[in-house]
C-alpha cells in the first residue's frame, strides 16, 4: 500500500490542469502529473516518492488524441503503449513499445509517463528522437511547441509545471525503413541492457539508444561515424563505441564490457540489415 495520503484531481481541460498544478505547488504539495500511474504507484509504495497531489491528465481531450493531422501524427501524452502498438500508425514506435514492460502493464503505461518518468530507459522516446518530433507543452505561461531534442534527448529538461500534452511527428518519417532491437540479460520482459532503434533516411542511418548509459539519447556524432562509408562497418562500430559520449553502464544487469559486446553485435545487425534496404 501507499503509506502517505495525497489529493487526486482529474481536470477536464489544459487550463484547469495547469492551474491545479500551480496552486498545489504554491501550497507546498509537490504535485505530480499522473498518466498511467504505474511508476508513481510502484515508487510511492516503496516510500521512495512523496507527493501531496496528483493531477490525472487522462481527462484532457488533447492528451487522448492519436491521429494524423496536417501531415503530422499527433500522439497524446495519455495514450497507452498498447494503443500505440495496436494502432499501427507509427510502426517503429509500435514495435519499440511492444516489448516495453508486459502486455497488461502496457494497457496502463502511457507514452507521456514513459517519456517523463524517472526510470532511466524511456524506450518510447527513441522513435521520436529519430523522427525529430516536436512536443507540445503547457504551463502557466501558455502552450508551446518545441523540438523533442530540447527537452527529452538525454536527461529530461522540463520546466517545473510543464505538462506534456502531445508529441507531433512528421508523417514522412513514419513509413521509412526501421529497426528496433532490445537485448535483455535473460528474460524477455525486462529492462534493456542495450536497446537500439534505427531509421534509414535519404541522408543515412539514424540511431538512438537506451539501456547502454544512464540516459536514452540520439547523437549526431555517432551517426556521422556510423554513416562514414569510407571506413569498414566493423571499424565504424569500433569508432562509435570508443567515442561513446556518455559513460556506459555497469550494473547487476550487465558489465560495461558486456554492454559494449552486445552493442557491437546489435549495431552490426542493424547496419547490415539497412544496407540491404533502400529508402
Amino acid at each position: 500500500m501507499i503509506a502517505f495520503d495525497f489529493e487526486y484531481y482529474k481536470p477536464a481541460t489544459i487550463a484547469e490542469a495547469v492551474r491545479l498544478f500551480s496552486q498545489a505547488d504554491a501550497d507546498g504539495k509537490e504535485p505530480l502529473y499522473y498518466g498511467g500511474g504505474t511508476e508513481i504507484i510502484s515508487i510511492a509504495r516503496l516510500d521512495q516518492l512523496h507527493t501531496g497531489a496528483v493531477i490525472d491528465i487522462k481527462g484532457i481531450p488533447e492528451c487522448n488524441r492519436l491521429e494524423f493531422q496536417n501531415n503530422q501524427l499527433v500522439v497524446g501524452a495519455a495514450i497507452t503503449l498498447t494503443h500505440l502498438e495496436t494502432s499501427g500508425l507509427f510502426p517503429l514506435l509500435g514495435e519499440t513499445v511492444r516489448d516495453t514492460a508486459d502486455h497488461t502493464n502496457r494497457n496502463k503505461i502511457t507514452v507521456g509517463g514513459n517519456l517523463c518518468g524517472k526510470f532511466i530507459y524511456r524506450e518510447a522516446l527513441l522513435p521520436f528522437l529519430l523522427a525529430d518530433s516536436q512536443v507540445v507543452l503547457a504551463n502557466e505561461k501558455g502552450i508551446r511547441r518545441i523540438s523533442i531534442h530540447q527537452v527529452f534527448n538525454g536527461e529530461p529538461r522540463l520546466e517545473k509545471g510543464d505538462l506534456l500534452l502531445q508529441i507531433l511527428t512528421d508523417s514522412r518519417y513514419i513509413q521509412l525503413p526501421f529497426a528496433t532491437i532490445k537485448k535483455t540479460k535473460l528474460e524477455k520482459i525486462d529492462y534493456p541492457i542495450v536497446r537500439v532503434a534505427g531509421l534509414k533516411t535519404n541522408e543515412g542511418v539514424r540511431t538512438a539508444f537506451s539501456g547502454v548509459s544512464v540516459i536514452p539519447f540520439r547523437s549526431l556524432q555517432i551517426e556521422d561515424l556510423l554513416n562514414n562509408s569510407s571506413v569498414s562497418l566493423e571499424q565504424r562500430i569500433e569508432n562509435v563505441i570508443s567515442s561513446w559520449p556518455v559513460p556506459i553502464l555497469s550494473d547487476i544487469f550487465a558489465s560495461e564490457q558486456y554492454r559494449k559486446f552486445v552493442l557491437h553485435n546489435t549495431l552490426s545487425d542493424i547496419m547490415t540489415a539497412f544496407e540491404r534496404v533502400s529508402v
Binding site: F4, E7, G37, I41, S42, T104, K188
Partner: protein, 156 residues
C-alpha cells in the same frame, strides 16, 4: 473529482455489473479496495509491484493489474473480477486442461485469457504468448495454461 488528501471520500464503482459504494483514500489501490471493502478476494496480493499479475482484473474489458491502479481511477469504468465470471469457456478449459496447481495465480491468468479470447477470438500463437507473459505461475502450470487458452481459441 477531488479527493481530500487528508481524509477519505465515498465513491461508487461498477464492479461485476453492480454499483457498489466504497470509502477510499486517494492513495488506495484498486486491489486493496476490491479485497478489503468489497470482499472480492479473487484478485490476489502477489508482488504488489505490477510484476506477477495475480491481481489482474478487467477494466473496460482490458486486463489491468489492480495493484497498479488507484481505486479512484475506477470512476466511470466497468470493472470485472474473477467473481464476475461464471462458467465461461476459459474457466471450463482451465479445469479440462488441469491448468492450475495451488490456484493462487489462476484468477489473474483467467482474467487475461478471458479478455484475450473475447477481444481476439482468432489470436495467433504470438499474441497468446504476448498476453500470457504478463502473469507468473510458480507451480509452473504454463503448458497447461497455454493449452487451456489455445483450446478456447480453437473452438472459436
Amino acid at each position: 473529482m477531488i479527493a481530500n488528501g487528508t481524509g477519505k471520500c465515498e465513491i461508487q464503482v461498477l464492479v461485476n455489473g453492480e454499483r457498489r459504494n466504497v470509502t477510499i483514500r486517494s492513495a488506495d489501490t484498486l486491489l486493496r479496495v476490491l479485497r478489503e471493502q468489497l470482499g472480492l478476494t479473487g484478485a490476489k496480493e502477489g508482488c504488489e509491484n505490477g510484476d506477477c499479475g495475480a491481481c489482474t482484473v478487467l477494466v473496460d474489458q482490458l486486463p489491468i493489474k489492480s495493484c497498479m491502479m488507484l481505486a479512484i481511477e475506477a470512476l466511470g469504468t466497468t470493472i470485472t473480477t474473477i467473481e464476475g465470471l461464471h462458467d465461461t469457456p476459459i474457466q471450463r478449459a482451465f479445469i479440462d486442461k488441469f491448468a492450475f496447481q495451488c490456484g493462487f495465480c489462476t484468477p489473474g491468468f483467467i482474467m487475461v485469457c478471458h479478455s484475450l479470447a473475447s477481444l481476439y477470438p482468432n489470436a495467433s500463437e504470438e499474441t497468446i504468448t504476448e498476453w500470457l507473459q504478463s502473469n507468473i505461475c510458480r507451480c509452473t502450470s504454463y503448458q497447461e495454461i497455454r493449452a487451456a487458452i489455445e483450446s478456447v481459441i480453437a473452438q472459436s
